[in-house]
Structure formats: C-alpha cells, structure tokens
C-alpha cells in the first residue's frame, strides 16, 4: 500500500534522506529505528506533506497514487495520519471542534454523510474511554496546557476517531512514563486491523515491547540499511547501531 523508491530529501541545503527505499504492505505494522539525526522524523513529515522539505529525487506511491502530489489535507482525507512527536498547542481552537471538522471532511471526501452532533459525541466518548481521557478534554483548546502524556494520548484519540488507513507514529513513546506508555500502546493495538497499516518511528526498543511490529527497519544516514523482524530490534537494543553501519559499509 506504500512504496517509497529512492527518496532523496533536502532540508534547506542539507540532504537528509539519500535514496530511501521502503515497501509496506497493507495491514502490517512496521517499526523504523535509527540513531538521532538519521532522518526518521523527516521521513514521516514528508509523507504527511509538511512544508520545508524538498524532495529532489524519488517517488512515494500510496494505494497506487503519487502521494507527494497531494496537499496535506488531501493525504489526510485519503487516509494518511501523522501522530506528531510534538503535538501543537492551539489555544482558541476547540478539541472537539477539530475532531468533528476533521472527521466530517474525511467522510465527505469518501462520499459519506456528515455525522450529526449526537452520533459524533457518542463515537468520541467511546474512543475517549479507550484512551482513558476525561470528558473535560473535549472542550479544551487543542492540546492547550496538556501534559506530555495527555498530548500523546490526544494524538491517538484523533487517530481512533479519524480511522486512517496509514498511521505514521512519530516517536510516540518519547516523554511518556510507563503508565502513559501502556495506555497509548493499548490504544494503538486496539486500532490494529487488516485495513490499517502502521509505520512507527522510534529511537528506543521500549515501545516495541508494547506494540509488536511485523517488520523492523534500521534507518541511518538517510537510507534503510537493514530490515528484519522484531528480533532485529532486540539485537539493536543489545548491540547499538554501529554494527549495522559497518555491515552496510562492508557490503
């Protein structure tokens, strides 16, 4: 469902992704691991359509379409969702308003009718229970004054409501204590389905104890250097990243 071919991306003058190849089949969970500065966040930002990243070469095919030609909102309506590493605080924009506007934009795009206020709230309440979120979240500004853990939970709540086909999780475990991590992982796991593909980017193996990936990739120096199953993550945890780099250089 997602096919990235020879992707080169520059941020300003600096090349960050240098010929990245990755193929993800529908319904799978992939983890992309790598040292700091390897280009993990750049990859998911580019996939979500963030400005400021220049694709100089390569292509991204998503469900048979050229993903890079779409505006961020078109990608979202086509089922792409990015859970931010640093969710943005937007005082004055209501949480529930954003959820509703987003969901209805997606439904409209799919040719479905908009949800009325009652059905919408029923849906949101059910998802909030899953994320162990308090009712009061609904009427607060988007992420306004949320703790780190609350912000991450809110990201997964949005994911649960918007039901994406491709979810990109950017360092979703960062800044979470163990209890919050459990809630967040629980939320993500409950969203696993054959109709949903999850690509999570993480620095640590810890998250993978909770969300078990089908495939693990090592991203370093702008390319996928090695792919394997979840045992690769354990090996990385033990041995670090250097041996992968050396192996790649040797090859």
């Amino acid at each position: 469902m997602l096919k990235i071919t020879n992707l080169h991306v520059r941020v300003g003058e600096k090349p960050v992704l240098k010929g990245l190849n990755l193929e993800v089949a529908g319904g799978e969970v992939h983890a992309i691991m790598g040292p700091n500065g390897s280009g993990k966040s750049t990859l998911v930002q580019v996939l979500a359509g963030r400005d400021g990243y220049e694709v100089t070469e390569g292509s991204v095919e998503y469900r048979g379409r050229d993903l890079l030609a779409l505006a961020p909102e078109e990608r979202a309506r086509e089922g792409v969702f990015l859970a931010f590493q640093y969710p943005v605080e937007i005082p004055g924009v209501n949480n529930v308003y954003l959820l509703k506007a987003g969901l209805n934009a997606i439904r409209k795009h799919r040719g479905q009718s908009e949800l009325d206020a009652f059905d919408f709230l029923t849906l949101v309440r059910e998802k909030m229970k899953l994320m162990q979120m308090d009712e009061s979240f609904l009427n607060r500004g988007v992420n306004e004054g949320f703790s780190g853990g609350e912000k991450k939970r809110n990201e997964i709540l949005q994911m649960a409501v918007l039901e994406p086909a491709l979810a990109l999780l950017d360092e979703t475990d960062s800044g979470l204590d163990i209890d919050a991590l459990r809630v967040v992982a629980n939320g993500v796991n409950s969203l696993r389905s054959p109709e949903r593909t999850i690509v999570m980017v993480t620095h640590y193996q810890r998250l993978l104890d909770y969300i078990e990936p089908d495939h693990v990739h090592v991203l370093s120096e702008g390319r996928i250097l090695k792919s394997g199953d979840k045992s690769l993550a354990l090996e990385l945890e033990k041995r670090g990243y250097d041996w992968v780099k050396q192996e790649a250089t040797a090859a």
Binding site: G49, A71, P72, F84, V88, V93, I106
Partner: protein
C-alpha cells in the same frame, strides 16, 4: 462632487457649513462656535503631531461633507442590526428616528432621551448639560463634533439604578448618505452605584463615502459600572472618527469592548481617566483592516488616583494592504500609588503587504506601582496550520480557524449572548473570506 469652489480651504468649508447650519445665537450655538473656532485655529491634525504620526488625514480634509438635512427614508430594522428586545435608540444619517427607536417604557431609574429633542424642548438646560459633560481632554475631532452635532443620546442613571438588558444605540447610514457627515454625541452619566450596558453600533451601506465623527462621553460616579460594546462596521469607503471618553470616580468600573471592522479610514481614541481611588478600567479590542483599510486605535489611560487598576488587551489582524495602528498610553500620576496597569497588544499579519504598528507608551510618575505591557506582531503559525491540515481541514478552513482563535478573546469576554452570537457570525464571515483572493 464638491459644491464649494476648490480654492477655499477645508477649514473655511467647515466654517461656511457651520454658518449656514447654525445662524442663531443661543447658549448652545455659542458653545458650538467656540469649539469651531478652536478647531479652525488648530486645523486638522497632521502627521507631524505624535498622536497622528501614522494616520494621514489629507484625504478626509479634501472632501466636502455636508450635514445631512432631513431624516432619510428607512423605516424598518436593517440587516446588520443585532437582535434586541430591550431599549433601542436609532439614528439614521445622524438623526434620531422615532419610528425605529423603541418606545417601550424605560427601565426604572434610567432616563434616555434624544439630544436633538431635548434641545428643541429646553435649549438652556440641554446646553448646560452638554457643557458639564465635556471630556477631560478634548481633541480636534471632539471639538468638531461639538460644533456640528445634530443629535445624539443622553442617558442618565439614577443612584443605584441597575439595568441588565443593554441599551442598544444604532447609528445607521442610509443609501442617501453619500457626501454627508454626522457628528453624533452620546452622553452618559451614571450616578452612584448604578450599572448598565451599552451597545454602540455604527454601520452603513457598502461603497458609500460619508464621514462619521462620533463622540461618546461617559461619567461614572462612585461605584457605578458601565459595560460599553462598540462596533464599528461602517462602509469600506467611509471615514470614521470616534472618541470614547470616560471619567471614573472611586470604585467605579468601565469595560469597553471595541471592535473595528469597517471604514476606509478609521480612528478611535479611547480616553479613560481614573480619578477616584479603586477605579477600574478594562479595554478589550479587535481591529481587522483588510483591502486598503486603515485603522488607528489610540488608547490613553490616566491613573490619577491611588489603587486604580487597568487591564487592556488589543488584537490586530491585518490582511491585504490593510494598515493597523495601536498606540496604548498609560500615565501614572505622582500620587497614584498602588496602581496596577496591564497592557497587551497582539497582532497578526496575514499578507506580506499588511502592516501594523504597535506602540506602548508608559509615563510613570509614582514609585509603588505595577505596570506591564507587551506587544507582539507575527504571522499565522505554520506548524499549527500544518497540524490542522494533517487532520483533514482545508488550508482555508485551517487559516480561518487560527485567525478566529486569535480573535477569540474579544468574543469570550462578551457576556451578552445575542451580541456574542452576532459577532461570532460576523467574524466567521470576515475571516473565512480573507485570504481567498490572494493578490
């Protein structure tokens, strides 16, 4: 088209208009004439004056506006008015409209009457009242208003009178307003412990060039409270000059909600003098120039007594080639110890050709005071825009939402529900339309 020969200066045109309109010599006309002479002597303010540094009045000066002669024919509530069941005073082209104003019984302890009517009935008394309720600091345009006002409203609250339903004052320009000027004067005196809410609205049909020069002068006795909503929605070709002047006695409170969306050239002077211990003033403002609109807000708060407090929050949103100016002066007099003054000016530029100047001006002559001020000018937050778009909202939707959020504080502070709903819709329409035609 000017009816006056082009060689005559703007000031002479005003003098001629004055002589034609007020040939008599009664106490009021003497007051008017004195004001006119002072205005003429000083002339229109120029950009050499600090208070007019950013606003050029040559365009206003070059026009020959005439006082309107007869009430214009509008006979029903107009689109753009706020749904309101309580007391309503309507002025059309600067003159009181009996037909459109409410004739219902006035709230107990509240006296409201049209200024023009009072002058016809009891000129001596009315003139004395007008003279007694002059702003502490006059301005060129207040003097011009004094010289030319045809009508206005007088509102007096008796001691302890309290009315929760707002008094709604509409200044509406008719389709015949082109080339006309009006100088409505609104005088409010609130006796001890009284309280009321005032909605002052200025509006006119699109594309008409006219000149409003409104003065609202308020006096609050000890413990009195006024909540003053001011909505400036004039035609985008018009000139609007406004003054909101308030004097506050001990423990009185003045809340001004100042929203400016209209006019080609708008200037609003807010002057509050805290004369009594414990007096409190709060200003919440929003100005949103777009197209080639020019909006200038000057606020001046005088802390002239101890333990007085002020809080000021102005937001500017400029789009297109819009130009905004916020100048906020706070003066703390030597004996005004324990003053607490807070000022914040936040501004948003939506286009590369929009411009806003924000200038706090503090003059503090007391030593035991708390004064804070902050001014910011920025653009829409790109990260927030991307965040919203990544949640499937269109760029226009995301943009409108962020602008609305920026202006939100002025809405949340409105506790009169029909007015809040009204403004919500206006702002939504305004900001969702902005940016759709990037030039």
């Amino acid at each position: 088209m000017s009816a006056v020969a082009p060689k005559i200066s703007a000031l002479e045109r005003y003098r001629a208009a004055f002589e034609a309109r007020w040939p008599q010599s009664d106490p009021l006309t003497r007051l008017r004439r004195a004001a006119l002479e002072e205005f003429i002597e000083q002339g229109f303010p120029t950009q050499r004056q600090e208070a007019w540094k950013y606003t050029n009045l040559r365009r206003l000066e070059s026009r020959s506006f005439e006082p309107s002669t007869a009430p214009a024919a509008i006979d029903a509530a107009q689109e753009g008015w706020i749904a309101h069941g309580g007391a309503r005073i309507v002025f059309v082209d600067g003159r009181w409209s009996a037909a459109l104003s409410s004739s219902s019984v006035q709230p107990p302890g509240v006296t409201m009457l049209p200024l023009g009517q009072w002058f016809r009935r009891d000129p001596e008394q009315a003139a004395a009242f007008v003279e007694s309720l002059a702003p502490k600091r006059s301005t060129a345009f207040e003097r011009l208003n004094m010289a030319f006002f045809e009508d206005g409203a007088v509102i007096q609250l008796a001691e302890g009178a309290r009315t929760d339903e707002p008094i709604y004052i509409v200044h509406h320009w008719s389709a015949q307003a082109a080339g006309r000027m009006a100088h409505p004067r609104l005088l409010l005196r609130a006796a001890r412990g009284s309280r009321c809410t005032l909605i002052e609205q200025h509006l006119g049909p699109a594309d008409l060039e006219y000149f409003t020069n409104a003065a609202t002068i308020v006096e609050l006795e000890a413990g009195a409270e006024l909540r003053h909503y001011r909505l400036q929605q004039e035609s985008t070709r018009s000139f609007h000059i406004g003054l909101s002047s308030a004097r506050l006695q001990a423990d009185s409170r003045y809340f001004l909600h100042d929203v400016a969306l209209g006019a080609s050239l708008a200037r609003h002077d807010v002057a509050a003098v805290l004369e009594g211990r414990g007096a409190h003033v709060e200003l919440q403002g929003l100005f949103a120039p777009e197209g080639s609109q020019h909006m200038d807000v000057h606020t001046h708060i005088d802390h002239a007594a101890p333990c007085t407090t002020s809080a000021e929050d102005y937001r500017g949103v400029a789009d297109g080639r819009g130009r905004g100016i916020f100048n906020g002066k706070i003066a703390v007099h030597p004996d005004a110890q324990k003053t607490d003054a807070r000022q914040s000016s936040r501004n948003l530029l939506l286009s590369p050709t929009a411009e806003i100047d924000a200038r706090p001006e503090l003059e503090i002559y007391a030593n035991d005071v708390k004064c804070s001020h902050g001014a910011t000018i920025g653009q829409l937050d790109e990260t927030a825009l991307f965040y919203l778009r990544s949640r499937a909202l269109s760029q226009e939707q995301a943009r409108a939402l962020l602008i609305r959020a920026f202006a939100e504080s002025v809405l949340t502070s409105i506790d009169h529900e029909p007015l809040r709903t009204y403004l919500e819709h206006r702002l939504e329409a305004r900001f969702s339309a902005s940016g759709e035609n990037p030039s």
